[in-house]
């Protein structure tokens, strides 16, 4: 959805058409859900947190500054909700006890052999992500899983662009150390 269309939809919602909010949910649900999943590593928590993000965005849509991009605002809400969740749940469970298996959770693309390798890599990266601080994790996730620019990251995280770059770099450093260690085993 382009930004002009987005603004129209937001205006429609603000004028009382709540159903129009579904268009925004459809446009961003994958990204917000995946952000929550990469941050928590828990499928069920990610689903709850993503829902909470949209509910809060709806409740506070009247505060949204329409001169700014909607996605950075939504990501900010999402990250705040995730941060609160991580603070409350110090254990930061990575091994979920939900109903679907990991295999079911990834989009079924490519050949099965590639899938196995991809799952192994994914698992290792997820485990290494768990080991780095939440601040670095969110920087790495935004940059490489969501391809967010450093300027937008700065906007989302409430820091300067250079601080965002530094967090990404340090996150990569930690990930590199962790992966080297695991691959060496």
């Amino acid at each position: 959805m382009d930004s002009q269309r987005e603004r129209q939809v937001i205006k429609t919602v603000l004028h009382g058409d709540r159903d129009a909010f579904g268009l925004l949910v459809d446009a961003y649900k994958d990204r917000i859900f995946n952000l929550a999943y990469r941050m928590t590593g828990n499928y069920d928590d990610a689903s709850d947190l993503a829902q909470e993000t949209f509910i809060r965005a709806f409740a506070r849509l009247h505060r949204f500054d329409q001169e700014r991009p909607f996605f950075t605002w939504l990501y900010t809400i999402g990250l705040n909700i995730v941060r609160n969740h991580l603070r409350q749940d110090k254990r930061q469970r990575r091994h979920e006890d939900g109903t679907a298996s990991d295999h079911d959770r990834y989009d079924p693309a490519g050949d099965p052999e590639h899938d196995v390798m991809s799952r192994q890599t994914s698992q290792m990266i997820e485990q290494c992500l768990e080991g780095i601080s939440a601040e670095m994790r969110e920087a790495v996730v935004l940059r490489f899983f969501h391809e967010v620019s450093f300027d937008d990251m700065a906007d989302i995280m409430g820091i300067s662009s250079s601080a965002a770059k530094m967090r990404v770099y340090r996150g990569l450093q930690r990930l590199g150390e962790c992966m080297k260690e695991r691959e060496g085993l």
Binding site: D26, W73, Y106
Partner: protein, 197 residues
Amino acid sequence: MDRYRDIIERMEGIPPVRLPEHFTETVMRRVHAAGEKSITVTVREYCAHHGVLGALRTVIARNIEGTDCPLSFFVTGAFYMIMGIVLMVGLGEVGGDETVVQMVRFQTQMTLVSSVLLIALGVLMASDGPASIRVGKFGLLAYVCLVIVNSLVLQAAFRISIADTFTVIFAGTGMMMGAYLAVKIDHYQRHTMHRGA
């Protein structure tokens, strides 16, 4: 970053996780339920689109959210500016002990320096936004140091009991303003992190 190209490529190669089914429907059910429960949502929607009420709501919201942080710096700076000018004009012809006169005149300079510092911080935060919060905090620290140093100098210069009261009031007021501005910066920082969240 090139050092970590391999890790980056591996991360970018990880496929997205599939959403639970009926995600949008679940969210929309909750959206409707939340909307039905809360009368404030209806009031907000009305206020957001009705001229004066909308403007009033924006002002109140900004005050609550802390987006008026640069304004608070301007206002405090303006207060010091007026006080500095009054002191400059009022104490122009003051006479008496040379040390005391110098100390009294020093107050004018301190007040004007504080004023310029606070207004400059306000301008910086208004123009640079969240990026200048760190500078704002250092500036505020400098202001608090100025207040403390000034009260210590006053304390040392005046040896009469009434001067102690004056020093305490002067320092206390300055510190209270500093605390108020610190709260404003904190709210501003939270607001930019939670913008609208």
